[in-house]
Amino acid sequence: MERNEVLARVQDIFRDVLDDDEIVLSDATTADDIDEWDSLSHIQLIVAIEKAFKVKFTSKEILSWKNIGELIDCLMTRTA
């Protein structure tokens, strides 16, 4: 899967979980940019992404992401 396809799928998951169709993700997006993205929904997002891509992240991976770009990079290595 291409990187921008992964980003688009992750964006759909965000829109679905956070119930907001106007969310647009880029590599630089962080939780500060999206109101509904708090520590509670963060976990729901990760669970939804793991389910959709059929992957299981390690705790270290999840805790070290600084923005969407790093999440996508991690997903790319897992789905390659």
């Binding site: 520590s39 509670l40 963060h42 976990i43 705790s59 270290k60 805790l63 070290s64």
Partner: protein
């Protein structure tokens, strides 16, 4: 040497003089001076604790470099080093703070002040380095100055290495706007401490000190005043620490954001002792949540409970602190469980931002928080049952003895605080201390300072949070 004492200001003037004259173009010199004066300040409070502070600083400095090297080699030893750092930091904290609880009758070799604050700085550092959120600090002077930074070593706010250490690498020239802002915050902190906390404390002390003689009316008033006292005491201290840091050219983490305007308990925790709660959120709550993510809602509830109970017992090994954590965890779980329904309800009835929706929620949150602080204050279960059973005896005439001491000045000071917080919360554009007009800014500052001298309790008492 408390910030509201004359000795502190003599010490601080002696620190600033070389800091902003001979050292002003030399950040390395400034940092060495900062480290030396911080160790002096810490040693002055208790010189016996100083070798421990220096030893853990050196060990964690080396651990940081080791973790980074092992992370680069990807050997898995980085994790081992990080865990040994955690074990060491938590072990030191436990030995000096909780030994008496684990082994009844045992006392640690010495009483280490500020331990709950500096160990958290060190623990956060090894985790951040392990996760690659920051590079290991190579300069041991900078690292030592971060850990021992004298404005915050005794009682916080708990700064994060990733935010604070880059500030040490920059030169701090005398920036007059920053210095003026620092002084404004110090004077506001003095106002909170001397005109509110120290002035009203006599009443809750009198009522809770002899609860068997008081009725529900007096207990309710004492609980309200105690909540205000705790806030004014700790926020007052934090304002002064942040202000002193600002005068030296540093941006220290904020600790309070008008907590009594919170509309639920979860929001309250994002506004009260923020440097501690955000630390626990990042280093305990999130890792637990991530680990428990397969358990759905129950994982969330479990992580929430552990999180807030830890915040409680972080204050010390006392029943009151544990029950305080449990009390808050009940409301946090309730808030999390009902969050979706609440949001749907708000959307449906267009309630968000409406004053008639916000006000009752704020009042209910304040009641929960004030009850929590009464629990926090009790030293044993029997203290708490005494308060509850006394409340069962009903209302009656109010106890007025301590009220005379609080008097008009105390009440006026609380109203002044309330007005400022209303103004800041609602973004009203009336400015005094931050006015664009220089004369108004200076006049407000002078009037506030004069008021502190006139209306403050100038006995130089200590701060509640120094014991933690």
């Amino acid at each position: 040497m408390v910030v509201n004492s004359y000795q502190f200001w003599i010490f601080f003037a002696a620190v600033l003089l070389p800091y902003y004259t001979v050292l002003r173009r030399n950040s390395k010199g400034q940092n060495i001076w900062l480290l030396v004066t911080s160790y002096f300040f810490y040693g002055y409070a208790n010189w016996k604790s100083l070798p421990l502070l220096i030893a853990v600083t050196i060990i964690f400095y080396l651990l940081g470099i080791g973790i980074e090297k092992q992370n680069e080699r990807n050997t898995g030893k980085a994790r081992l080093l990080m865990i040994s750092g955690l074990v060491l930091g938590i072990g030191v904290l436990f030995y000096f703070k909780y030994l008496g609880v684990l082994i009844p009758g045992a006392t640690p070799l010495l009483n280490v002040i500020g331990i709950s604050f500096f160990t958290f700085k060190l623990l956060g550092y090894v985790v951040d380095t392990y996760l690659g959120k920051m590079s290991a600090v190579r300069n041991i002077i900078d690292f030592g100055a971060y850990v021992a930074f004298f404005p915050t070593i005794l009682s916080g706010p708990i700064d994060r290495p990733g935010e604070f250490i880059p500030q040490l690498e920059r030169n701090r020239n005398a920036d007059w706007d920053g210095i003026a802002e620092g002084f404004r915050r110090v004077v506001w902190g003095l106002f909170l401490k001397l005109c509110i906390a120290d002035r009203i404390k006599a009443y809750p002390d009198a009522v809770f000190g002899n609860v068997g003689y008081h009725n529900t009316t007096s207990i309710i008033l004492a609980a309200i005043l105690y909540a205000i006292e705790m806030y004014a005491d700790f926020a007052g201290y934090s304002e002064m620490a942040i202000g002193v840091g600002r005068i030296m050219g540093f941006k220290v983490r904020e600790n309070f954001l008008r907590p009594f305007f919170a509309q639920n308990v979860s929001e309250y925790w994002r506004r009260w002792h923020m440097s501690l709660t955000s630390w626990i959120t990042d280093y305990v709550y999130m890792p637990l949540n991530v680990a428990f993510r397969g358990w759905g809602k129950w994982g969330l509830y479990l992580a929430t409970s552990i999180n807030v109970i830890l915040i409680g017992i972080w204050h010390g090994a006392q029943w009151g602190y544990l029950l305080f954590g449990i009390w808050h965890s009940l409301f946090l779980i309730l808030a999390a469980a009902l969050e979706k329904n609440r949001k749907t309800f708000e959307k449906k009835h267009k309630l968000k931002g409406k004053w008639y929706y916000k006000t009752p929620r704020r009042v209910v949150t304040f009641i929960i928080v004030a009850c929590g602080l009464v629990i926090f204050r009790t030293e044993s279960l029997s203290d708490l049952t005494a308060i509850v059973s006394q409340c069962g005896k009903g209302f009656g005439p109010i106890f007025t003895n301590g009220l005379l001491e609080i008097g008009t000045l105390g009440l006026f000071s609380i109203l002044l605080l309330f007005f400022k917080e209303m103004k800041d919360e609602n973004g009203w554009s009336i400015h005094f201390l931050h006015s664009q007009k220089t004369w108004l800014r200076l006049a407000s500052m002078a009037i506030l300072f004069a008021y502190v001298i006139f209306a403050g309790e100038l006995k130089g008492s200590s701060f509640i949070y120094f014991q933690f």
